[in-house]
């Protein structure tokens, strides 16, 4: 039999624009809810204590560590994950820049890195190099792709700017 349902609470998680009605244990993190209840496994579990940034998602527009948030505290909030960035085959500018600059090797930290930069570019489409670096200082890449991640961050700004100009003209 399953664990006692009495310990579970109802909540609605809004992820990538879709509402999900779930019964979840209050102690379950947003990270586990994404990975286990919604099978959104793009967001990775690495340290599970807010040290590494691999589980970074956007909550109400801000980059947050999903392992440090309880799912029940995200009821009604707007959660965006790596699965929500690309529109069909069209990559987000940050994703495109990561491919272009080989900003990953094993790829396990990549969703978190990309979400940190997406949150930055949403807040400020023209960040300085220092701001780009700061946005991903909390995202550990053990393969050591940092030099390329920094370049990809700068390139993402250019791609996003070019797309904006293209759309405006």
């Amino acid at each position: 039999m399953a664990a006692t349902a009495a310990t579970h609470v109802p909540l609605t998680l809004t992820v990538n624009g879709r509402d999900h009605r779930l019964m979840i244990e209050p102690r379950r993190t947003l990270l586990d809810a994404l990975r286990h209840d919604l099978d959104l496994t793009g967001t990775k579990k690495v340290c599970d204590m807010g040290d590494c940034g691999a589980c970074t998602v956007m909550v109400d527009g801000r980059a947050m560590y999903a392992c440090l948030l309880l799912a029940v505290d995200c009821d009604g909030r707007d959660v965006r994950t790596i699965e929500g960035l690309a529109q069909g085959d069209a990559l987000d500018p940050v994703q495109e820049a990561f491919v272009e600059h080989d900003a990953f090797q094993c790829g396990y930290c990549t969703p978190g890195q990309i979400m940190s930069l997406r949150a930055l570019l949403d807040a400020d489409p023209e960040p300085t190099d220092a701001e780009i670096m700061r946005a991903v200082t909390g995202n550990i890449c053990r393969c050591g792709a940092y030099r390329n991640i920094a370049q990809a961050g700068r390139r993402a700004v250019e791609i996003q700017r070019a797309r904006g100009e293209g759309a405006a003209s």
Binding site: M1, A2, A3, T4, E25, R27, R28, D32, R35, H36, D39, L40, T41, G42, T43, K44, K45, V46, C47, D48, M49, D51, C52, A54, T81, I82, E83, L85, A86, L91, Q95, F98, V99, E100, D102, F104, Q105, C106, G107, Y108, C109, T110, P111, I114, M133, V136, T137, G138, N139, I140, C141, R142, C143, G144, A145, Y146, R147, N148, I149, A150
Partner: protein, 767 residues
């Protein structure tokens, strides 16, 4: 019929097989290649940036359970009793296993998966599979274990002390010390006009791959499938089959993507067997991923080392003797995946007639050692390359010049020439020029922040690849190709580099080639992805398979086009006719004329040369600043050059270079497993207090590529680059620190507190 060359190998006394490869002309230095040598994004790039890449941790099967492991809180104890009754009846729990309800399964050397003696904090005592990770964790708390604690040892000194507690029944020396000697080292030291005699130590570094070790296990009748985070699907298959008494063809291991391994995933670990047992007991798929603490406690580390190094030289800088007495603390078990030959670099990097090395591995009640990116060489380079720097200063000879005076064009263990004897010299030249070594500014001033530069060189026993390695290629009816191997891409770009070799030889554009790997049931046997060997092992096998397919294609084209084969060639997806451009025909049009059919080719990795030895080499220069008030080292710039033969994809190689150096900076400055000796407790088994580099710690890194093919090494001329860039980084940093502040840091890492202590001592002596 395939002809096999069968020799009795040294490794485990097994027979070594080499398939006699058809003659294949190597791609020479001036070969005109269209796809090999080009930059290209990783073939799996889109999957990785969209979150679609499925790692072992991401497998989701119907009715899947989640497992977790109860671990010993004692560094050494006897397990007297285990009571799992309360855990078994917790709602949502489907299986609980431990020594009390499973057959003893041998694991490690003389131990068991669930042993009645635990030998380190973290050793496996019981495991639970439940409907969620949370329930599994609850169940662990309900298991009652009665331990009878035993005395333990943590440090190498304690392990060697008279009357020390025994980690293993046979004592604390793991096997026999490895002794090597050539010439007369004692006489060489006597003849020396200058001698360096120093003892260096290196710390235990933790791999901290972001994806922990783990797997998902599912039974289908009598067949077990493991989605495993591993560098060697066939090794896992063999070890798990053996542990469970299964025939190998009933075990399938799959690994498509892996979140880092760096050596620690080159063997099977206990969780593979535990997950399989839990899946069997529960009748449901079971996922068992280690948590971060367990990842840092039980599945490997770079073993600590102490190295007493003596170098003797004449005044002109000629080495008269190299003597290294090496002790390693290898933890509680021999895993079979150590590959940690600290002695090797002393024996081969510099020309010297009188060399002695003694390497003594010691058991301690800690995490067993396992290969970590260039195992042994990283530790040796820390000591040898600092000693060479000291010697250069003692002699007043430029450090690069000193190395050139002791240059070896031969591999001195076998006394055979290297396949590319100028490889190391080219690395010296490239890095010297790219950095501006000869015109560098001398460190100046007595200010608070002081600048220094340091040089270090290295060789690496890997990178050359070897048999076995196999590939199959299917050329499809539409002119696309499937390349099938049984290797794995551990994040290094293997898929891409190997696909480029196939595309080159098939004459197809890269987008028309798919490279398959990572499944024991669909690909031919492939060895572990380690030793920087995969490109050089699999590349030639793929080339051989592609040559076979291309030959068939040209015969068909010859018939279809009524042109003799010698006038035909394939390039960029077209069959070209010599002297008649208009008649060039797309491959897919030729293939369409064939009755429903694919062309099949297969290839094997041929033998390495017998009269020469293929190795990889490199040299690195670091510029940095030391803050004398805080002990903080800031690396400003790294320039590096490596002989990795032909560069198949410069983007992949550059990434390996920056990644290796980034790990080297961590090893040099911040990474250190800290253990409380009294408790046997690792104090920083997490990513907060174990400091791996962040983006803020990494300076500009310039790869001054050598890029000279090594066609005598293998027919692709390419060698490995995965491990080498890390090897010289830490000693280059240490040498630069000396250059900046005149302090020789003998113990790695050069943490702020250690350097601050040394700076304080220096100040006290001066005053």
């Amino acid at each position: 019929m395939t002809t096999l060359k069968i020799t009795k190998g040294e490794e485990k006394g097994k027979l070594q097989l080499e398939e006699q490869e058809p003659e294949m002309a190597a791609w020479g230095t001036d070969a005109a290649l269209a796809v090999v040598g080009q930059r290209h994004p990783r073939l799996e790039a889109i999957e990785k940036v969209t979150g679609r890449a499925q790692y072992s941790s991401d497998v989701r099967l119907p009715r899947q359970l989640y497992a977790t492991v109860l671990r010993s809180p004692h560094p050494h104890a006897t397990v007297a009793a285990i009571d799992i009754a309360a855990a078994e009846v917790l709602p949502g729990v489907h299986a609980v296993i431990c020594a009390e309800n499973t057959e003893p399964i041998p694991w490690y050397h003389g131990s068991f998966v669930f042993d009645r003696t635990v030998r380190l904090i973290g050793d496996e005592v019981a495991a639970v599979a439940a409907e969620s990770e949370e329930i599994a964790a609850d169940a662990l708390r309900l298991i009652e274990v009665t331990y009878e604690p035993l005395t333990h040892v943590v440090s190498m000194d304690a392990a060697q002390a008279p009357g020390a507690p025994k980690v293993r029944d046979e004592g604390n020396v793991a096997g026999e010390p490895k002794v090597y000697s050539r010439g007369d080292p004692d006489e060489g030291l006597r003849q020396a006009e200058v001698m360096i005699d120093r003892t260096y130590t290196t710390q235990s570094a933790l791999h901290n791959s972001l994806e922990p070790h783990g797997c998902t296990a599912a039974w289908d009748g009598q067949t077990l499938t493991l989605w495993d985070s591993t560098q060697s699907i066939f090794t896992v298959r063999e070890q798990v089959a053996q542990a469970l008494g299964l025939p190998e063809h009933r075990v399938r291991v799959i690994k498509q993507h892996m979140g880092g391994g760096f050596g620690a995933k080159q063997i099977s670990w206990k969780q593979d067997v535990i997950a399989a047992l839990l899946a069997q007991r529960s009748g449901r798929p079971v996922q068992l991923m280690l948590d971060r603490e367990a990842e840092n406690l039980v599945v490997g580390n770079r073993p600590v080392s102490r190295q007493r190094v003596r170098l003797g030289a004449t005044r002109d800088g000629t080495l008269t003797a190299i003597d290294a007495d090496i002790t390693q603390g290898i933890g509680a078990y021999m895993t079979g995946g150590e590959a940690s030959n600290v002695s090797g670099m002393y024996q081969t990097l510099y020309r010297c007639d009188n060399v002695r090395t003694v390497q003594t591995p010691l058991y301690t009640n800690l995490n067993p050692g396992v290969a970590f990116r260039a195992p042994g060489h990283v530790e040796a380079a820390w000591a040898l390359e600092q000693a060479m720097d000291e010697l250069a200063r003692e002699l007043g000879i430029d450090p690069i010049e000193l190395r050139l005076r002791n240059y070896s064009e031969t591999e001195q263990l076998e006394e055979k020439p290297y396949t590319l004897p100028e490889g190391l010299r080219l690395s010296y030249e490239r890095v010297r020029e790219a950095f501006g070594w000869d015109t560098r500014e001398r460190p100046a001033g007595e200010g608070r922040v002081r600048r220094g530069v340091g040089f270090a060189a290295h060789d690496w026993v890997g990178g050359s690849g070897s048999p076995p390695g196999y590939a199959w290629i299917e050329l499809n009816a539409d002119g696309t190709a499937d390349v099938v191997t049984g290797t794995q891409d551990i994040g290094t770009g293997t898929r891409t580099g190997l696909a480029q070799v196939a595309a080159e030889e098939l004459g197809l554009p890269l987008e028309d080639v798919s490279l398959h790997l990572g499944d024991t049931s669909t690909g031919p046997y492939s060895p572990v992805s380690s030793g920087s060997a995969t490109q050089a092992t699999l590349g030639p096998a793929i080339r051989a398979a592609a040559i076979e397919v291309r030959s068939q294609l040209l015969q068909i084209a010859s018939t279809a086009m009524e042109i003799p084969v010698p006038r035909l060639s394939v390039r960029q997806g077209k069959v070209l006719v010599d002297g008649d451009e208009r008649r060039s025909t797309p491959v897919k049009e030729i293939m369409r004329q064939v009755a429903p059919h694919t062309l099949h080719g297969q290839g094997a990795r041929g033998a390495n040369p017998t009269e020469k030895v293929a190795r990889t080499f490199g040299a690195q220069i670091v510029e940095l600043e030391v803050d004398t008030e805080t002990g903080e080292v800031t690396v400003l710039r790294v320039v590096t050059a490596h002989d990795c033969g032909r560069i198949v994809n410069p983007t992949m190689v550059d990434s390996q270079v920056i990644g290796g150096i980034t790990q080297g900076i961590g090893f040099a400055l911040t990474e250190e497993r800290v253990v409380d000796d009294r408790l046997g407790l690792v104090l920083n088994a997490n990513m907060e207090e174990y400091k791996v580099p962040t983006i803020a710690d990494v300076p500009p890194i310039e790869h001054a590529a050598v890029d000279v093919p090594d066609p005598e090494a293998n027919p692709t001329g390419a060698k490995g680059i995965g491990e080498p860039p890390l090897v010289p980084t830490a000693p280059a940093i240490a040498n630069a620190v000396f250059d900046a502040v005149g302090i020789r840091v003998l113990d790695a890492p050069i943490s702020r507190h250690r350097l601050l202590d040394l700076l304080t001592t220096q100040r006290e002596h001066a005053s």
